[in-house]
Amino acid sequence: MTSTAIDLEGFQDAVHEWFHQETGLRTVWRTQTAPQIPYPFGSLKMIAGPSPLNDFAEERQGTDDLSRPLGEEIELNTYVPCTVTISCQAFVGVPDARNPGWNAYRYLLEAMSSLFSNSVCDTLRYKGITVLEVAELQNLDEVIEDSSVSRANLDVRFGIVLTRTEYTGFIETVHIKSESLGVDRDFGVIE
């Protein structure tokens, strides 16, 4: 039996909480079939990853539990370190869109600078997330219909460890058959 314990949702929730707290913006995940929310708002999207760092993957044995069903007594956890890049954007409508002190840059500067503070990094690390790379801020100002929208983007590369849990059982018997040794029997049968 195999159960997948890849907690991408927990990672997304932690990133959402960080971005919302640092910018103060109501924040949603992009590309959902859902209505836009009022300006100003933030949006997040996973744009790359999870990209596994294969050399660092490892398998560790978890707990043995004889109360589990036959063949599932042993827990095996595979830990796969991965990188995930999140595009963080802020959208600001008029009139603040035209105010250099209050446009989308301002919000993303707050988010960007927070990633260098110990408190934020420790909070993320406690949740199993490390900040690997913070890209430069990009200006994506645009005109929608007849009004300008201040929009900025910040790509952040996070490191997470995905886990996959599998269950296996003990080997009950080993059958050895050898004509040269004259053996053809089961070994290890528990009476």
């Binding site: 997304q12 959402h16 949603v28 995940w29 959902q32 079939t33 859902a34 209505p35 929310i37 009022p38």
Partner: protein, 121 residues
């Protein structure tokens, strides 16, 4: 030329019951949209296929899929950024159409004129 109040009478005369679907939902605290199903209702409406000229104000991607003009005595809902409401959906002749805009002629003529475009994938 037909006067507007007269047009309202014509709308009433040639309308029939049309089913509309009103999607419901809200964002949760993690920024994910949670659908709460949909409500359906019957409105009294007259529907025509929209001409290219009538769709000229709709943005290109939606305009290209075609649309309908809905004359109705019931108010239809468009997407509302402030309230987070989604637009009404009108199933018609095997396709579904999403309401893009509503002109309110209710006070002067007793009807609404809505433009809806065919929904994509």
């Amino acid at each position: 030329m037909i006067r507007l109040p007269k047009l309202g009478q014509i709308v009433r005369k040639f309308s029939r019951s049309v089913k509309i679907i009103r999607p419901m939902g809200a964002y949760d605290e993690h920024g994910r949209w949670q659908s709460h199903g949909e409500q359906s209702a019957l409105i009294t409406a007259h529907i025509q296929t929209a001409t290219d000229k009538e769709l000229v104000n709709i943005d290109e991607g939606r305009r290209a899929r075609g649309g309908i003009i809905v004359f109705t005595i019931d108010e239809l809902r468009v997407a509302n950024v402030e309230t987070g409401e989604q637009p009404d959906i009108i199933p018609w002749q095997g396709s579904t159409f999403e309401v893009q805009s509503v002109e309110n002629w209710n006070e002067v003529a007793g009807f609404y004129r809505a433009t809806a475009t065919r929904m994509g994938q």
